[in-house]
Amino acid sequence: MIIFFIIVYYRWLFPVNLDFSNVDQLCAKVDFRSPRPIIDLSKVRFFRPFSLVYLGMFLRYHNCCNKAFDIIPPESNAARGYLARQNFWERFNFNPDVIKGEKLIRFTTSTSLNDIIDVENRPNIADDIAVAVLKVLRNNRVHVKVGLLSELVSELVDNFALHSERTLAVVAMQYYPNLRRVVLAVGDCGIGIRASLSTNPAYAYLVSRPHCEVTLKAIEPLVSRIPGCGTGLTNIRDETLNLGGRFTLTTGNGYVIIGRQGTKYGNMSYDLPGVQAELSLPEED
């Protein structure tokens, strides 16, 4: 028991990896009473795609509310270099509703493995992302069911396009050859699942329910803001389980994780608008 608490304390004091388990706590610690709140990333050595997307959406959301931050960058050269290669600070340090098109296009033109891209809400964006992801996975000979993974990513992007009521989302794709795993994260800082779903009169009662419960409901078949729709998240859940992967979905202060260890849900430490999701799939033998 003592060792357990030492490990917990050590990880809290010296976080090494920023991922689903702790990125919300990092955001919750930010002191908004300060005119320029500080985000301390000094101890971060490794960023999982979900944490990049979550932190990016945190910055973008508050930037839209005219809030600027002072950021203490990672001490680790590798982590600092990684963020620089992804144009992380520049990428999330603007309001997508007012940015000029020519500046935005710098971030939306390339899709590659181990990269972040911004995704504009425009017609057929989910189709375009599916084709781009398929091409990248094939070119890099990643041994996953590439068609299926591309399909699942397009489901997430389509959800953003149909329900977020925002201009931009972000997609991060990372391949870990040693772990033989592909991880994809998609996020936006839109209206979120609860606000979207409760506009359907059949689900108006959900407006006062916790985000995590609403998210579980949204994963059920034929549950959608749009009557007659609602197979996307169900499909992601079923295929993730078939492929032995893991699906993480957060919205507001709620989360749901679906994987081999079962379905878990609960509350995040921070209430971030929008929807953030991560798909983690193993390579096939």
């Binding site: 689903f20 189709d127 399909e151 579980l216 169900t234 499909n235 859940r237 379905t263 878990k264 430490s269």
Partner: protein
């Protein structure tokens, strides 16, 4: 029987809206004969696409006018899941094989477990 390859109606076949658009294009040909929708040899045919296609047929009472030609068990599984979700009858065949009715597949969600605190949650 008319045969239509899905690639002539939509590409890529991933979103619900594309499925509905493909169904609208097909609908004009329904009534004279049954139509075989050939799904074989396509990179991606998503469940949402198939659901958009089939639910459009359902709304117009035309679901039994179509037969799906497939080439992989993955497509059969997707059709089975759509049949389960929509509680409908779908006919299909593999190349050169007899026409069969799909056996609906129903998803069995896991019982969710509430985790009260996410502190140091490792997954």
């Amino acid at each position: 029987m008319a045969i239509v390859h899905i690639g002539k109606l939509a590409y890529p076949c991933v979103t619900r809206i594309r499925g509905e658009e493909a169904a609208t294009k097909l609908q004009g040909q329904v009534g004279i004969n049954h139509i075989e929708v050939d799904l074989s040899g396509v990179d991606m045919v998503s469940l949402s696409f198939l659901d958009g296609l089939i639910s459009h047929f359902l709304r117009h009472g035309k679901e039994t006018d179509f037969i799906f030609k497939i080439d992989t068990p993955i497509l059969e599984d997707k059709l089975a899941r759509v049949a389960g979700i929509r509680n409908t009858t779908i006919y299909f065949r593999y190349d050169e094989k007899e026409i069969r009715q799909i056996k609906p597949k129903f998803s069995r969600p896991q019982k969710p477990v509430f985790i009260p605190t996410k502190t140091d949650f490792r997954h």
